[in-house]
C-alpha cells in the first residue's frame, strides 16, 4: 500500500494523543490486569498466573453486597443530581433571558468548586452532627425533641455529600445542550398548542438527552470510583468498591486490589455501554 501525503499527516496528527493515551491510560490498565493475577504474601507480591484473587472475590457474598451498595449509591445520586441538575440548567437556559446573566449565574454555580471537594464534604460533618447546627435548629424550632441520629454517618449523609459534590457535573453538559436548542422549536410547539409540560417532555427532554447522558456518565463514574466520601460521611460504617480497594492497598494486597479494580472497571464499562445504547452522544456532539 502506498502512503499518500494525507495519510502521513493523519498518522502524524494522531500520534501524540495515541502516545499519551498509551502511556497514561492503556499501560496502567494493562498493568492492573496483569497484577490482578499475581500472588501476595503479607509484605510482598510475586508474579504468578493464578485465579485466587478472582476466586476469593467472586465467591464472597461481601463482594456482591458491596457492589450492590455501590450501585445503590450511584443510582440514588444519579436520580437526585439529574433532577436538580436539569432544573437548574432549565432555569438558566430558558428563564434567564440575557446572555450576560446566564453566564454570570452559571459562574456563580461553579464558585463552590473553587474549594477542595474534601473540604466541602467535611464541612457537612459539624453541620449534621448530633449537636450540630441542623439538629439544634430543628430542636429550637420545636420540630423534634431529640437530636436526629440518621443525619450523619448514614447512607443519607453519604448521598447528600455525593449530590452536593457532583450536581455541577450534571448541570454543565445539560446546560450546554439546552443552549443549543433552537428556540423556534419551542415556539412551534407552543403554536401547535402544546402545554408547558408537553413542550418540556416531548421537545426539550429528547433534545437534551445527549447532555443528560454525558452528565450521567460523569456522575456514575465518579460515584462508582469514590472511596473518600463514603469513608468520611458514613463514619467508615459503609463500604463501597473504592473502599474495598483502598483497604487492600493499605494492607499491601495489591493483587487483590487489582482484581477488584478490574471487576469494577468491567462493571462501569458495561453500565456506560448500556447507557450509550440509548443515546448516540457522538452524533450530537
Amino acid at each position: 500500500m502506498v502512503l499518500r501525503k494525507n495519510d502521513v499527516t493523519g498518522w502524524a496528527l494522531a500520534t501524540p494523543l495515541s502516545a499519551v493515551l498509551a502511556v497514561f491510560l492503556v499501560a496502567p490498565i494493562v498493568m492492573i490486569v496483569v497484577v490482578s493475577f499475581w500472588g501476595a504474601t503479607e509484605w510482598s507480591i510475586y508474579p504468578a498466573f493464578q485465579f485466587d484473587n478472582y476466586a476469593f472475590l467472586l465467591s464472597s457474598d461481601v463482594t456482591y453486597r458491596v457492589f450492590l451498595n455501590t450501585l445503590k449509591y450511584a443510582f440514588v445520586t444519579w436520580v437526585f443530581t439529574l433532577l436538580i441538575g436539569f432544573t437548574v440548567a432549565y432555569y438558566l437556559a430558558f428563564h434567564i433571558r440575557s446572555l450576560t446573566w446566564q453566564i454570570a449565574l452559571f459562574l456563580l454555580c461553579t464558585i463552590p468548586f473553587l474549594t477542595s471537594n474534601i473540604i466541602r464534604m467535611i464541612s457537612w460533618i459539624p453541620f449534621l452532627g448530633r449537636n450540630g447546627i441542623a439538629n439544634s435548629t430543628l430542636i429550637s424550632m420545636g420540630v423534634i425533641d431529640e437530636p436526629v441520629e440518621w443525619l450523619l454517618f448514614s447512607d443519607f449523609s453519604v448521598i447528600l455529600a455525593f449530590v452536593h459534590l457532583y450536581t455541577l457535573f450534571m448541570v454543565v453538559p445539560i446546560f450546554n445542550t439546552m443552549m443549543r436548542i433552537d428556540t423556534s422549536l419551542i415556539e412551534a410547539a407552543a403554536d401547535a398548542g402544546a402545554s408547558g409540560w408537553q413542550t418540556l417532555w416531548h421537545v426539550i427532554v429528547p433534545l437534551t438527552k445527549p447532555g443528560i447522558m454525558i452528565g450521567t456518565i460523569f456522575v456514575v463514574a465518579l460515584v462508582m470510583g469514590d472511596f473518600i466520601t463514603v469513608r468520611f460521611m458514613s463514619g467508615s460504617q459503609s463500604a463501597n468498591v473504592g473502599r474495598m480497594i483502598q483497604n487492600d492497598i493499605g494492607l499491601l494486597q495489591y493483587p487483590s486490589a487489582s482484581a477488584t479494580a478490574v471487576i469494577l472497571l468491567i462493571t462501569v464499562l458495561l453500565l456506560i455501554g448500556t447507557l450509550l445504547r440509548f443515546v448516540d452522544i457522538r452524533k450530537e456532539l
Partner: protein
C-alpha cells in the same frame, strides 16, 4: 558519600574504649565532627506520634545534621517500609510492624555496643519483663521481635543477642476513652464498649491489627471467650470475635469508626461518641478544649504498644554513623522528656528525668498529684494542681498490660474478615 573525615574515626574509637557514657553525657552539646556532617540529611518516616518537627529542630541544633520527617498512618508506614527501602533512612515504626517488615531485609540490625544507654533501656524491650516478677503479656511483645541473630539477620531471636531490630523510643498503654459527663457512672470493664446503654454512641478504630485486639479485650471481658493468645488468634477465634462485633454493628451500637487521630478527637469532643478506643494524646486534645474526657483504667488491663527506630538496609558510611549518633541522642533524654510530657513513656526513663521538672516527673511517671500546673511541651496547660494521671504511675500502668499490639499468623484471613465487618 564514602569519604569519611578523620575526626569521625577518632570519635568512634572513643566510643569503643568506653567513652560512650561520657560522649552521651556531653550531649546535647554539638559533636566535634567533620564539616560534612552539616550536609547530611536523614529521611525519617513513621506514624504521627513521634514524628515531631520539634525533634527535627533539636537534632539540627544538637547534632548539626538535617532530619526530614514524614508522618503517615500505620498501614502506609508498613507499606513503605516493606516495599520502598530506598525511600527512607530511618523508619520509626511499631513493633508489630517490625514483625511484618523485618523479614523483607529492608532494615539493618543495630549493634547494641554502639548504643550508649543500652543498659538503661527498660526491661520490656530487652527480656520482656518490666520488673523481675512481671508476667509477659500476650501479643507481639517488643522483646520477641527486638533482636536478631546478626548484622544481616532476617530472623528474630529470643535472647539479647547484641543486634537489635529496632531501638525502642516510645510506648504507652492504651485503654478506652470516655466522656464521664455524658456517661455519669463509673466504667471499669472493656465490655462496656458493647453495652446497649451506649447504643449509637460507641466507636472503635478501623485499623484492623489494633482494632482486633481491642475487640478481643471486650469479648474476654464479656465472658464470651478466653483466648489462649489474643495476639495470635485461630480462624475460629477471629470469626467468633468479629461475629460478636458484626452483630453489635448491625444493632446500631457504633456511631462511626475512626482511622486517624483527629477523627477520634472530633468524635469525642462533639459528643457523637461517649466511649471508644482511643490514644493517649487524643484524650489530651479533647481535654485541652475544656471538655471532660478520661483515659479510663479498666480491670482487664491495657492494650499496649511500642515503637522504635529502625535503620534502612541501604544506609552506610557517614549517614550510618549519623544515624547511630541520632539514636544515641534520642535515648539521651531530651526527646524522652518531650514525649513523656505528652503522656508517652521513654525507653530510658532515667535519662528523661533530667529534662523534666520534679513535678512533671511526679505527675507523668510516678502518678503523684500535680503540685502546680502541668503544661505540655508546647506550653499549653493540661492539668491543674492536684490532678492525678489516669491510671497512676508508670509501674501501675505498664505493669497492667494484658496484651501488645500484634500481627497474627492468620493476619491475611483476619484482614479479609475485618473488611467484611466494615462492609457488613
Amino acid at each position: 558519600m564514602t569519604t569519611i573525615s578523620k575526626v569521625r574515626y577518632t570519635r568512634r574509637s572513643l566510643l569503643k574504649t568506653g567513652g560512650a557514657a561520657v560522649a552521651a553525657a556531653a550531649l546535647p552539646a554539638p559533636m566535634v565532627w567533620g564539616q560534612e556532617t552539616k550536609n547530611i540529611t536523614l529521611r525519617q518516616f513513621g506514624t504521627g506520634v513521634s514524628n515531631l518537627n520539634e525533634v527535627a529542630q533539636k537534632v539540627k541544633e544538637d547534632l548539626g545534621f538535617t532530619l526530614e520527617m514524614t508522618a503517615l498512618d500505620s498501614d502506609s508506614v508498613t507499606q513503605r517500609a516493606a516495599t520502598q527501602p530506598d525511600s527512607f533512612d530511618i523508619a520509626d515504626i511499631e513493633y508489630w510492624i517490625c514483625k511484618k517488615v523485618w523479614p523483607t531485609g529492608n532494615l539493618q540490625a543495630m549493634d547494641t555496643s554502639k548504643i550508649a544507654n543500652y543498659d538503661k533501656i527498660v526491661g520490656i524491650f530487652r527480656n520482656g519483663k518490666l520488673t523481675p516478677e512481671s508476667i509477659i503479656a500476650q501479643g507481639t511483645a517488643p522483646h520477641t521481635v527486638g533482636f536478631t541473630s546478626g548484622v544481616n539477620g532476617t530472623d528474630f531471636v529470643d535472647e539479647e543477642s547484641g543486634f537489635m531490630t529496632l531501638i525502642p523510643t516510645i510506648y504507652n498503654a492504651d485503654t478506652l476513652g470516655i466522656r464521664p459527663d455524658l456517661i455519669g457512672r463509673p466504667i471499669s470493664n472493656w465490655s462496656e464498649l458493647l453495652n446497649p446503654e451506649f447504643k449509637g454512641k460507641a466507636s472503635i478504630l478501623d485499623i484492623s491489627s489494633i482494632g482486633i485486639m481491642d475487640m478481643a479485650m471486650v469479648v474476654e471481658s464479656m465472658g464470651e471467650y478466653t483466648y489462649p493468645d489474643k495476639g495470635n488468634m485461630t480462624r475460629e477465634e477471629i470469626d467468633l470475635t468479629l461475629g460478636i462485633f458484626t452483630e453489635a454493628k448491625k444493632n446500631g451500637q457504633f456511631r462511626a469508626f475512626w482511622k486517624s487521630f483527629d477523627e477520634s478527637v472530633n468524635l469525642m469532643a462533639s459528643g457523637e461518641v461517649v466511649i471508644q478506643s482511643m490514644w493517649s494524646p487524643a484524650i489530651t486534645a479533647v481535654r485541652s478544649q475544656g471538655i471532660p474526657c478520661v483515659y479510663q483504667p479498666l480491670e482487664e488491663g491495657y492494650r499496649s504498644w511500642g515503637g522504635g527506630i529502625g535503620l534502612s538496609a541501604s544506609l552506610s558510611g557517614m549517614e550510618l554513623d549519623a544515624a547511630y549518633e541520632y539514636i544515641n541522642w534520642y535515648l539521651s533524654g531530651w526527646v524522652g522528656g518531650f514525649l513523656m510530657r505528652q503522656g508517652y513513656y521513654s525507653a530510658v526513663p532515667e535519662t528523661s528525668k533530667n529534662f523534666m521538672s520534679a513535678d512533671e516527673w511526679g505527675f507523668w511517671f510516678e502518678g503523684k498529684p500535680a503540685q502546680g500546673d502541668i503544661a505540655n511541651p508546647f506550653g499549653q496547660v493540661m492539668e491543674k494542681a492536684g490532678a492525678v494521671r489516669d491510671g497512676g504511675s508508670f509501674y501501675d500502668r505498664m505493669g497492667a498490660v494484658a496484651c501488645w499490639n500484634a500481627v497474627m499468623d492468620e493476619n491475611q484471613y483476619m484482614v479479609r474478615k475485618w473488611n467484611e465487618f466494615i462492609a457488613a
